[in-house]
Symmetry: C2
Subunit: 148 residues, 2 copies
Amino acid sequence: MIDKIDDLNWRILAILQQNSRQSLVEIGKKVGLTPPAVAERIKKMEDSGILEGFKAKVSYAKAGYQLKAIITLRAFMGKLKPFLEMVPGLPEVTNCYRITGNENIVMEVVLKDQGHLEEFIDQLIRYGETRTHIILSDVVSQAPIKQI
Amino acid sequence: MIDKIDDLNWRILAILQQNSRQSLVEIGKKVGLTPPAVAERIKKMEDSGILEGFKAKVSYAKAGYQLKAIITLRAFMGKLKPFLEMVPGLPEVTNCYRITGNENIVMEVVLKDQGHLEEFIDQLIRYGETRTHIILSDVVSQAPIKQI
DNA sequence: GATGAAACGTTGTGGTT
DNA sequence: AACCACAACGTTTCATC
């Protein structure tokens, strides 16, 4: 397996992060390799775990989720574990992290409307104290990972 | 253009969000359509903006970013606009949102190590007061959007 | 990594419901 | 309007160098 990423692979990663639906011919032209060489490099990066997958990005708004929010949770004593087991089942939660600091959890959630937000927060109050921040706009959204 | 998503399209979206590198033949088998019918549905969803794109997911850790953090910023008077113009140029910032509440901004950042984190925070102090939370673990990560 | 051939997938046309 | 069948085209993959 490979562990360091060379410049050519960084360029391939940049291309695939921007748009993964390009043919090996197109990618090869951009980086100066033949299609089989590109295919082999992509396969090796998948095998080594650098490339975790290829996913479609769906518009939250067009899918009917008009509201996004950041919610932090400060779990009650003994309620963190039940929360961690329950949260992957919530369809509204797109990201959830355990964090250091006064709060234990931060979540990014998508919601239909304010009523939906209210219902969602009501589900959480038995696990801990929440703080909600409505997202007004995306400044940076899923920026590609760049070379250090 | 289409504005509502029918059940068949939701199933196609679920498949593409899980793995966008499946052939039209495979997708067609799963949803009970022929490849041209699947292709036409995907094209229409792209045209209407429901499908925003196809992107490769890269491992932060394997790319050399050992640390993730959530940083909130409470911008100083007159410093929010300069910050919003500057932040898309920071390679460490993968997501950045304007939010309601006491803080104006929440960011998700990737970093090499603690020294890198320190340097990064130092860049921000001229724009406002920051609060940093190290991410200990991912509980939910880029969950697919589901049907309401 | 390149080349060339075979296998496979995608895309367009025409026709059906 | 949405889908199917089939053919033409492009892409991926595999053997060999």
